[in-house]
Amino acid sequence: MKKNWLIAAIIASLLFQVGVVSAATSGEAKQNWLAEKQARIEADAAYRQAQLDYAANKTSENEQKIVDTAKTVLGAALDEAEAWLNWKKAESEEDTAVPENIRQNIVNDVVKNLAKIDGLREEVSGIETRLEVGTVFLKILGAYVELLVDVARNTGAAWTYIAYQRAGVAADYETKLRTAAEKLDNNNEIIAKLDIVKAEISLAKNKINTAEASYEKVFLPGTPLIKFSEGNGYLRQARENLINAHFQLTRAFDLIVLENK
């Protein structure tokens, strides 16, 4: 009797710990995704090598190697997709800067798609022949994109929202510093720097607009992951414009400090 309650207490303690560990931060979830991505890349290389070995020497052993490595790479791809979805969920739950409706859409899509992964794993584990590798591979390839597409589109929406916010803050500071500079006698250099800030913010906003248009095309049928990458590319350019804008804002701020001394 005594032993029973002691065991129950230890189990309860372990369950609490599992709960704490599973509630990973978005930083940890991202690291987990990167690790799964690396594992999938390595499994993919092994599968490609097995195909080459079979093409060179069509033995039953090499044929079995194709089946085994294909199962490993498909499983790894599902692990990678699962880790990415978990990362996006953790990120959405943490990032209160993004509107509630976008965050909720991401969380709902993640939950819906995570539920599909177990069924896909069963299909992968059922592969027994080289012929089945081909059909299941194509099926998983399509399902893999389906798993990610909705969350990718909403992630793009969240990223563009944040980018607009950052550009808006930079524009607000530019206006405030310009107002301060206009009260100074010797303000030519400051105004010139603020003009650069304005131009960089304008370029950034244009790129954010273009990124938004790309993310809106993250749909099936089509090339959703390419559109997602395109959107990311435009946002990276907008980030560079905002870094340039910030650099000039800082210079203008320093000059205003000097003029006020």
Partner: protein
């Protein structure tokens, strides 16, 4: 029975403390996109003493904007290919 409840509670609390060890963010640390940035007491004092130049913007606000912009990271999804 009372003793059993107390011992159970002690085991659960000890488990939670162990699970939480190292998970928290310490004083003077902030997390930006998964990366920890440490600020020392001296840095905090310097920021408090920012010169007010009636510009409507503070050095602290500019520093925060810089961190926010630099934290804008976009990861592609390359995934599986046949």
């Amino acid at each position: 029975m009372k003793k059993q409840i107390i011992i159970s509670a002690v085991i659960i609390v000890a488990g939670l403390i162990l699970a939480g060890a190292g998970c928290g963010t310490g004083d003077g640390e902030k997390i930006i996109n998964g990366q920890e940035e440490k600020t020392t007491g001296t840095e905090k004092e310097i920021k408090k003493d920012d010169i007010n130049v009636n510009s409507g913007v503070t050095q602290e606000e500019l520093d925060r904007l810089k961190a926010d912009i630099e934290g804008m990271e976009y990861e592609d999804l390359n995934g599986l290919k046949k």
